[in-house]
C-alpha cells in the first residue's frame, strides 16, 4: 500500500468526496508568497501587479480550458473588452475603480455568453478558428474605432480615483499591488467555489466524456456557454485591473499573442488544477521581463522551444510533474 492509499483507506469514501472542497494548507502558499513579495521586493511591485493580473487572467482560462475543456485562442478578447470598458469609463469621468470592475465583468461576460452561444455549437478546428475570429473581429473594431479607443496610439486620459476614496494609486505601485492581490483573492475564492460545485464537476465530466454527460441528461451546451461566460467575465476583470493600474490601454490587449501567452502560462503551470495559473504566470512574466530585455526575438524562440518540449515530454505542466514525482516517491 502506498502512503496515499493508507491515508485514504482510513476515511470512508463518502467522507472523502464530501470533504474534497475543504481548504488544505498548501493552498495558503500562493497568498504567503504574494504577501512576502510585497514586503521583500518593494521596488518590483509594478511587475508584481502585472504578474497578479496575469494569474487572474490565466485562472479565468483555467475554468474555460482546464475544467470545461474548451480549447480557445480567443481568450484575450475578453481581457481586452474588460480593459477597454474600465479604461473608457475612467477616461469619461467614471473614476471609481471597483464599480468599473463590475462593469467590465458584465460587459465581458455578456459578450462571452453571446459569442459562446454561437461558437460553442461547433467543435475542433472550426471552434478554434471561431475563437480566433472573435479576437480578430474585436481587434479590427478597436483599431477602426480610433475616435473612441485611440486606435494604435492607445487609450489615454485614464483617471482613477483613490481606492475606497482613501488610498491613492502611488508611484511605487503599492496600492495597485494590494488592490490586484485583493481582487485576485476574491476571484480565486469565486472560481474555487465554482470548480468544487456540482456545476464545476459537471464541466470536468463534459471534458472527460461529453457523450456520457448527454446520456445522463446534462444540458451540455448550456453548461459550456455558462462556463465560457463566467471565464469571460473573470478575464474582463483582469483586463480592467490592467487598464486601471497602468492607466493605459494598448491595442495589443486584444491579440493572438496575448491569447497564446495566457494559454502558455496555464499549460506551463498545469491546467485544470486551479493553481497552474499561480505557478505559470510568475515564471513566465519574470522570465519574459529578463529575457526580452535582451532581445524579444529570442524570447519567442525560447518560448516556442519550451512549448514543443513541454508537449513532447512534460504534459500536465509543472504541477503535473510535481504530482508525478510525489506519486513515485511518496
Amino acid at each position: 500500500m502506498t502512503k496515499l492509499d493508507r491515508r485514504t483507506a482510513a476515511v470512508h469514501p463518502v467522507d472523502h468526496i464530501a470533504h474534497s472542497h475543504r481548504l488544505r494548507w498548501p493552498e495558503a502558499l500562493p497568498w504567503l508568497l504574494i504577501a512576502a513579495t510585497y514586503l521583500l521586493f518593494p521596488s518590483y511591485l509594478a511587475l508584481g501587479s502585472q504578474v497578479l493580473i496575469m494569474v487572474l487572467f490565466a485562472l479565468s482560462l483555467d475554468l474555460v480550458l482546464g475544467y470545461a475543456g474548451i480549447v480557445t485562442l480567443g481568450h484575450a478578447a475578453f481581457f481586452g473588452l474588460g480593459a477597454y470598458t474600465a479604461g473608457l469609463l475612467a477616461a469619461h469621468g467614471w473614476s471609481e475603480p471597483i464599480s468599473a470592475l463590475f462593469a467590465a465583468a458584465v460587459v465581458a461576460g455578456a459578450f462571452g455568453a453571446a459569442s459562446g452561444a454561437i461558437i460553442l455549437r461547433t467543435s475542433g478546428l472550426t471552434l478554434l478558428m471561431l475563437t480566433l475570429a472573435v479576437v480578430s473581429l474585436l481587434a479590427e473594431a478597436a483599431n477602426k474605432a480610433d475616435s473612441i479607443t485611440g486606435g494604435a496610439d492607445g487609450l489615454q486620459g485614464i483617471v482613477i480615483n483613490p481606492l475606497l476614496g482613501r488610498f491613492d494609486f502611488d508611484l511605487y505601485g503599492r496600492t495597485a499591488y494590494l488592490y490586484c492581490a485583493a481582487v485576485l483573492l476574491v476571484m480565486w475564492y469565486v472560481v474555487r467555489r465554482l470548480v468544487h460545485s456540482p456545476f464545476g464537476r459537471s464541466l470536468t465530466g463534459i471534458r472527460e466524456n461529453r457523450l456520457r454527460m448527454h446520456a445522463i441528461g446534462a444540458p451540455v451546451r448550456r453548461r459550456l456557454v455558462t462556463a465560457y461566460a463566467i471565464g469571460a467575465a473573470v478575464a474582463g476583470v483582469a483586463g480592467a485591473l490592467q487598464a486601471q493600474t497602468t492607466q493605459f490601454v494598448a491595442l495589443n490587449v486584444i491579440s493572438f499573442h496575448l491569447s497564446a501567452a495566457v494559454l502558455i502560462i496555464l499549460i506551463f503551470g498545469g491546467a485544470g488544477r486551479l493553481y497552474g495559473a499561480f505557478v505559470g504566470a510568475p515564471i513566465y512574466m519574470v522570465a519574459q521581463d529578463m529575457l526580452s530585455r535582451l532581445d524579444p526575438v529570442y524570447w519567442f524562440f525560447w518560448v516556442g522551444l519550451l512549448l514543443v518540449l513541454v508537449v513532447l515530454f512534460a504534459r500536465g505542466g509543472i504541477l503535473g510533474c510535481v504530482d508525478g514525482v510525489r506519486r513515485r516517491w511518496p
Binding site: 468526496i17 470533504h19 474534497s20 456540482p198 446520456a215 446534462a218
Partner: protein, 251 residues
C-alpha cells in the same frame, strides 16, 4: 389501458440511400426483460441511439409512457426516465468510481447546474451513489480512478451510472461486451437484481446471457424487425436460425 413504457412506431433512419432502421414498430412493456438480437450490422445500436435521441431519426416516432418524445433532445428524454449504457465504455476515466456515479445522481436530482454550493455538501447524493456501488459490488473501488480498475468492473460502472438516473426504461447495449466469460456471471447477477418495475431492453451477442435474462426477444435484421416472441418461440423459429447460422458461417 396503460401505455407501454417505451414504444416506437415506424421508426426509421437512413443515411442518404442507406436505410439502417426500417419502420420499426416496437413495444417495451413496464417491467419488461426484453432482448434485442440480430447479426452484426443489423442496426441494433443505431436503434438505441434513435430511441435516446443521440442521432436524429428520419421518420416515425418514439413514445415514452405513451407520450411522443421524438422532438425532444437527449437530455429531456433522460429526464423522462430513459437511461442507457454504452457498448464501448463511456465513462469519466480520470474521476473515481464514486464520482462517476455521483455525477449521474446529481444530474437526476437536478443539482448538476448548481454554481456555488460545494458538491461535497450534498451528502444525500453521495450516499445514494455509494449505496449503488455497494449493490453492484463496486464499493471497494469507490475512490479509484475508473481507468485503473479491471475492464469487467468498468462495465459495472457503466450500469451503475445508468442506475444512478433511476430510469423507468433502461437500455443496456451489450453489457458483457469484452468481459471474460468467467466474469459475466457478475454482470448477470447485477441484472437479475434490477428493480422489477424497471423496463429493461438489452442488446447482447452472448446468447447464453440473453436466454437466461430475457422473457421476450425481438430479432432485428438489416434494420427491420424479423420477428418477436418468447425465448422458446425464437429458438424454434427457423428464420432466426437461418439468420444466425448464416452469420456463424461468416465468422
Amino acid at each position: 389501458m396503460t401505455s407501454p413504457a417505451l414504444e416506437t412506431r415506424r421508426l426509421s433512419k437512413s443515411f442518404g440511400a442507406l436505410v439502417v432502421t426500417n419502420e420499426v414498430d416496437f413495444k417495451l412493456e413496464r417491467g419488461a426483460r426484453h432482448a434485442l438480437i440480430g447479426p452484426n450490422g443489423a442496426g441494433k445500436t443505431t436503434f438505441i441511439n434513435l430511441i435516446t435521441g443521440r442521432i436524429p431519426h428520419s421518420a416515425g416516432c418514439v413514445l415514452l409512457d405513451g407520450e411522443d418524445v421524438s422532438a425532444l433532445p437527449q437530455e429531456a428524454r433522460v429526464k423522462r426516465g430513459l437511461g442507457r449504457t454504452f457498448q464501448i465504455n463511456t465513462l469519466f476515466p480520470d474521476l473515481s468510481v464514486l464520482e462517476n456515479v455521483v455525477m449521474a445522481v446529481s444530474e437526476r436530482q437536478g443539482r448538476g447546474g448548481d454554481l456555488f454550493r460545494p458538491a461535497g455538501s450534498r451528502r444525500d447524493i453521495i450516499d445514494e451513489a455509494y449505496d449503488l456501488l455497494e449493490r453492484l459490488r463496486l464499493a471497494d473501488d469507490a475512490l479509484r480512478p475508473v481507468r485503473t480498475i479491471a475492464y469487467g468492473r468498468q462495465r459495472l460502472v457503466e450500469i451503475a451510472i445508468a442506475l444512478g438516473l433511476k430510469p423507468k426504461v433502461l437500455l443496456l447495449d451489450e453489457p458483457a461486451a469484452g468481459v471474460p466469460s468467467a466474469e459475466t456471471a457478475l454482470i448477470l447477477d447485477v441484472m437479475a437484481e434490477l428493480p422489477a418495475e424497471m423496463a429493461v431492453l438489452i442488446i447482447e451477442h452472448d446468447m447464453d446471457l440473453v436466454f437466461r435474462f430475457a422473457r421476450r426477444i425481438t430479432v432485428l435484421v438489416q434494420g427491420a424487425v424479423l420477428t418477436e416472441g418468447s425465448p422458446a418461440e425464437i429458438l424454434a423459429d427457423p428464420r432466426v436460425r437461418e439468420v444466425y447460422l448464416g452469420e456463424r458461417r461468416h465468422d
